[in-house]
Amino acid sequence: MGVRSAGVRPSFPRAAATVVIAGLLLPVVLAPGALSANERGDGSGQEGEATLRVGIQQEFDSLNPFLGFSRAATEVFRLIYPTLTTYSSEDFSVVPELATDWESSRDKLTWTFHIREGVKWSDGEPVTAHDVAYTFDRMMTDSAAATANGNYVDNFAEVSAPDDGRVVIRTETPQATMRSLAVPIVPEHVWSEVDDVAGFANRRMPIVGSGPFEVTDYRPQQSLTLEANEDFWRGAPTVDRLRFVNFENSDAAVQALRKGEIDVARKLTPAQFDALKGAENIERVKGKGRRFYELVLNPGAANSAGDPIGTGHPALRDVRVRKALDRAIDRSELVDRVLGGHGTVGAGYLPPIFRKYHWSPPDDERRSFSLEAADRALDEAGYPRGPDGIRRGPSGRPLDFEFVLHGDSSTDALVGKFVKEWLSGIGVEVSLQPVSDNQVNQRTTAGDFDMVISGWSVNPDPDYVLRLQTCGARPNPGGGGLPDSFLCDERYDELYARQLAEFDRDARVELVKRAQGRFHEMATGLILFYPNALEAYRSDRFAGFERQPAERGVITAQQGYWGYYRAEPTERARTAGGGAGYRSAAFVIVGVVLLGALVVFSASAHRRRTAEHRE
């Protein structure tokens, strides 16, 4: 029935088909709407101007400096907002920035910062001590403003600006980190009009700032453009424009670098880095990393009230077991096989990039790799093997550990495999549990693990990561707190407190080293390695970047703005602007012509066949 009706009245399906096709074409009609979302063409790419284009693989979580704390966002804040002090590119030493100098009272509780004169916000207003006081004050009084950098003002009692040139900060207790307050200072005349910090995206372009660059254009998930600030007090940057370009996968970023669509690619994997060897016009930068990669052993987690929490295995409370496990891990094998050699074998808590603070265990304390020694140590500690080859604790419970890993990290996956293999050799069973990043954090905080992978990027001032191992870092019963290895050790805490109150540089370094020694002795967190930061740039467009620290460091994502600020464009970068606008038009036309040719060809082929058919 239906067949016939359709056959008799062909107009119906035809009309329907038209409707369908019209519906399908709707997106194409809508397309201009999608384009208009990117209204602001910034008309860049003029002759004689150099644009430095950096590929990034992380989205800016917020351009509001009180809220954003992804690495991508903090890197931008360093470029557009002043800080009181900054770290030198030479060796991370603290150098003046907005503050020209500073002094502390005799009791070390009152700090006075002298603000540089003649510095201007990009809208022409002067930068004064009142802006600084306003920024700190807002963070102390508005909980939303404390989201990103609240920890810096936790210990502040009062902040005031007696005149335009001086900021006075009073702290509750002496604090050695006062010279390195990495808080972006914002203009009071702009931000005092913001009532709801949490709801403020800070996307009115250009963003009023006072750094070497100024944000002028932001396209979410696509790019962020900064123009050089010609009035920067240190002098205008050598490049005219800086642009961060989003990539969703690092392979595409590498290909874009090869092709010259971007000038710098970073966070390269060892394989990508090796593949770029010998590539034309590409210079590779193997920077020492600021990061340590740590295997945490649950030493019996407890909250800040001292009540045990979590599901940690009782055997790991025994320091002899933790030390034995440490001896069963071959760190140099991990660096070779997991990092492809692009890393440094782990030793002390702080990475060797910070020469002054880095500590390595002396020979008699070093726990070198030896499966036999580890096996013997467990025998002696009273953990005999059961009939199945798995060791048993005093209570008869087998040594079977849950190892929590970041599920999307290939490094974790490999490390997990190696560690499992080695530990099975000494009669310890490990079950690997790859979970989401979020889950790793939550299980760590809750103490629900036996072994877990952790790792931190260390600041030039080590206070932050040192604090992670104190009793004070344990989670509150009501939440909060940020534990790492749940080490809660009287001697460690004492050393930590002393270094924080020690204002003599060398004496503090000594205390920091002793704290690391104690951390190593307790073996709650095993530092496996320090991965290198792998980057590459176009040497035909940029002649050189300032590294931090000098010679061994990185060129992007620094503690400061040096790399971008002092990048040297070559003649080529100035003449050949990044714009390929009209060439692209030509390619589109070529594409259309090719497509047309294909259609004509297939149609004629078809006609030929039907012709044959008729004969």
Partner: protein, 344 residues
Amino acid sequence: MTDTRDRDDVRRPPARAPRILGFVALKLGGGALSLLLVVVLGFFLFRVLPGDPARTMTRSAPVSAEQLAALRHRFGLDQPLYVQFRDFLGNLVRGELGTSYTYNRPVAELIGERIGPTVLLVGTATVLAVLLGLWMGTRAAWRHGGSADRWFTSVGLTLWSVPTFWLGLLLLMAFGVGVGPMPGLFPVAGMSSPDVPPGVLPRVLDVGHHLVLPCVTLVAVIHAQFMMVMRSSLLEEMGEEYLTTARAKGLREDLVRRRHAVPNALLPTVTLIFLHLGLVVSGAITVETVFSWPGLGLLTYEALRVPDLPLLQGTFIVLAGSVIVMNVLAELLYRVLDPRVRAS
């Protein structure tokens, strides 16, 4: 329905209008009910995900218990679940989808930003894939077993089985970067280059230029399903007697195919097309990732990774909603297309 039947005895023709209205109302009602279920499910489903939202928001920053409490209060997380749900529904009615944890911005705004690029990419690709698929499917079936059939089927099925990201990366290497003497013809990432001279035409061309590779990848992968469905449904029609009749009338082979066979074979394909149109919004996460296309698929993936509950809920509602709307549309349109549905 009962009063319709009462009237049936009196006069038959006027009953048609209410029946259509009833049918439409039924379908729309069903769609609305599904949407409501999606909303409820979206709210509770994601709350089952392990993890404390306040801790998620602060990620690895050290925060005090007071700060956490303040955060919970700000996002209404300190309220009992049913109060949260009530507020969520209230906001939804007003068109608000909450505030993203990650971006600290309204979810509706974030989705609005991303939906354009996704519709542009997946919409264009779907249109092309449908046209190409229908055309190829028709050719393949009409000359069943011929060389065109063998080629189209094997190439289509091969591309259909190929992992999308792999094909995308291959195309990116070959046409984005260039191989040997051939230079890279297309950009490797993004939707537009920032250096485009002002003006509508250059900008449209620029986006078109960026669109080529991701679009070709998508078309290559999805066109096979349209082709195969079209091919098999046309094959079913091939033996029908009405085609013999048409030929006997002296119609040209072309006309027999175009006017008689294809319209009948189109029905299953239309269903498939509409099902697929619903997915247009959800985008193509893999293609968007490979070519760094700033679309909705990526946003969903990011939201799931965190997990950013309000953003997840928002994208979930938009994605599921578009599938439901398209399904309702398909059912309504089916009635127009197929007299059999009307008669039943």
